[in-house]
Symmetry: C2
Subunit: 426 residues, 2 copies
């Protein structure tokens, strides 16, 4: 299971595997592989381009039980799995018959449960690819701006890599998220301001000598980082037995995850790893931060920024960088985008926990509630095979649920008190 995947003889010694260049998603300008993220010509975002060799199902199946089974399709060296990292991925694809029944679906429903990752969110995937790229580019300090999941993932990955890390957070972050991140021994910097202020500060820090050896995973390493999300698409297809589902419901924050799952599906089709069957991709947002949903409903190509106000803080990006690309994917595949209220988010969390024993963070609640809303509106087909992405863990967002659940009662330690309570409840 630990066999390294070597796509072809020529790429075994390549620092970035079969990745060959960076390319502007707007104007197509090409750049060599480096710590660049924006096009000099048009300021468009850069994406990794590849020259894939032959990749077979057997090669992948003989790989590690992590994202590294897909090393040949990522911008990493063939030895990435052997370098210190958290080995995320290959999380469970759970058949969710109880949830399907509760939602009135007759098609098979699956939950791709990324709370099983090392720090319990899908961010471990993207950070692992960024960490590998940082090594190749000589960036020894991992860094990011984050309000939670990414902070955990970066601090933990850097600890495992015996690397320094610097994580910047808004100073008003919940103490729980501060503790979790700080426990990994990162240099944690609280910044007076909101997440947008912290994010802007990170961009300004690039170029300052103090950050010469810093890799900001979601800024100057973003092209590599984002490729990590493709592995969610790969795993869904492989775990379904090398085929594509008919419908996928994906939360939208920056929009990168949704676009990369689609990219993963298309690459598997192009490489002949799965048959080309129709699939529709659906996006999920919170009403309190739904710029992409609003653009979708209005028929716009441009996403107008909003000021977030939702309990789904991990999705609270008011100006989503990949919003237009997410719109493209949803429209091209015949999907749609829904938005749900904070109340529906909590209902979504509880519904998933009560039916399948999976306790999701608020982003998971958004996705479940959006699935329900799109079934009710008729946009989602209840008879089609559907995959729902749960990207994080309820233990990190207890405050969202705590006002709504609790004991059936408090009783004296006696048998009769139990009998009375249960009789009264019946």
């Amino acid at each position: 299971m630990s066999t390294a995947i070597l796509p072809s003889a020529t790429t075994t010694t390549s620092p970035f595997g079969s990745a060959s260049h960076l390319q502007c998603r707007e104007c197509g300008a090409r750049y060599s592989l480096g710590a660049e993220y924006a096009c000099i010509e048009c300021f468009g975002p850069l994406e990794v381009g590849y020259e894939f060799g032959t990749v077979t199902r057997e090669q992948i199946e003989s790989g590690p039980l992590s994202i590294w089974r897909y090393s040949a399709l990522l911008p990493v060296s063939a030895t990435a799995a052997l370098e210190p990292n958290l080995a995320p991925g290959f999380t469970k694809l759970v058949r969710a018959d109880n949830l399907a029944r509760a939602l009135g679906m007759t098609g098979v429903l699956w939950v791709k449960d990324d709370s099983g990752n090392p720090t319990h969110s899908f961010k471990d995937r993207v950070v692992a690819v960024a960490q590998s790229a940082a090594r190749r580019l000589g960036l020894s300090t991992l860094s990011c701006a984050s309000t939670g999941n990414l902070a955990n993932a970066v601090a933990a990955a850097a600890a495992r890599g015996a690397q320094p890390s610097v994580v910047l957070i808004p100073s008003d972050l919940e103490p729980g998220k501060v503790v979790t991140t700080a426990a990994y021994g990162t240099t944690l910097i609280a910044v007076e301001g909101n997440y947008d202020d912290v994010n802007r500060l990170c961009s300004e820090l690039i170029g300052d000598p103090v950050t010469d050896d810093w890799g900001f995973v979601n800024v100057n390493l973003r092209p590599y980082y984002a490729e990590g999300s493709k592995t969610l698409g790969y795993e869904i297809a492989e775990q379904l037995g090398w085929r594509l589902p008919q419908q996928v419901v994906i939360p939208i924050a920056s929009g990168a995850l949704l676009t990369k799952v689609d990219k993963g599906f298309r690459e598997f089709i192009d490489l002949g790893l799965v048959e080309e069957t129709p699939y529709r991709i659906f996006g999920a947002q919170a009403v309190g931060c739904s710029p992409v949903e609003q653009a979708f409903r209005a028929g716009h190509d441009v996403v107008r920024p909003v000021r977030p106000d939702t309990i789904a803080k991990s999705l609270a990006i008011g100006n989503p960088a990949d919003g237009p690309y997410a719109l493209d994917v949803v429209r091209r595949t015949g999907g749609s985008i829904g938005a749900v209220t904070d109340e529906e988010i909590v209902e979504g969390i509880r519904l998933l926990a009560e039916t399948e024993g999976i306790f999701a963070e608020t982003a998971g609640g958004v996705t479940v509630a959006t699935l329900r809303a799109l079934l009710r509106s008729g946009e989602l087909d209840p008879t089609a095979e559907t995959v729902l992405l749960n990207t994080g863990d309820g233990l990190k967002t207890l405050d969202a649920v705590s006002p709504h659940v609790g004991p059936a009662g408090t009783i004296a330690p006696s048998v009769s008190a139990v009998v009375d309570l249960l009789g009264g409840a019946a």
Copy 2:
């Protein structure tokens, strides 16, 4: 990967697989397989007995990526993997070179990281086996007394199984643990009193008509439940490449986990799945609840109960049922038992997080700190291959760490403020 494991033709139709009887660990009296847990003759605890067929490495390796790959060695039907359950197990065995270096070890050190289970503790393993037994025994409601991890595991497993559940907790439990359990939709009962009161109440409830169809996973289903912990031993051996480590460090609460890891090793030896090589088993307790460690140091066979007072609440069992058996295992294998202070527990959590990116709950901190203490005392061999068990997740015990970690500083959102802070820190 989903092939059912059929140990032999005769057991395919057996409700409990190759398990053949219950047997008293004290007097050896035999009972048929049922919802019994104490010997009528001598009140000794009952344990599952087996008549194993042939089991090969290939059979196991072709099984699911969960404890069900070992179905042929558990008291479950061959179809257990196909019934609704959380599919726990086959968690990562992480090579911990950074931690080894920090501890001055030259032998290879591994962390068996059970925080990767569905509800993030090893309790998912034992509950899954108990849930299967409950189905065979017609007990449709899952129940337990618990202060945390077990409550989560029972409530989640019952949700996935579309079964009712009743979880009893002390009324003064931390709100965070109440929320996590209640989110799964269990009937949660807060009992005025401490954990011992709740536990005694559960025993009293057995026999009352209201609990006719209740399976208390750690009381009347305990013989089955406890067998789930063997899978930790199996996985360690399989993941090492079908061989045993030289040393294993295991936290002690009731003592069942430690004795079952040993049982798993011995069964693998008896079945010819691994070579019989010497191994030593070490126990880890908190000074604030160290009855087994005290008995070990004093050379006693009997464990004298204590009143727990430690931050490691998941290990705070003052009167451990399997304490004497844990002593037997430690003495038979030439190991020892250490105990560490609350301060050392926090240091242990931080050391594991900072070196390997694994954020453990307090029980994990106990185990890391005990490893360090036993290396210092010379009882543990720093040159021998060693496996450390992390049984739970730091997200559930944030309060233990929160007073000790935090930001390096709070600054204005400017590049110069970052430079000043880092310059000052350097």
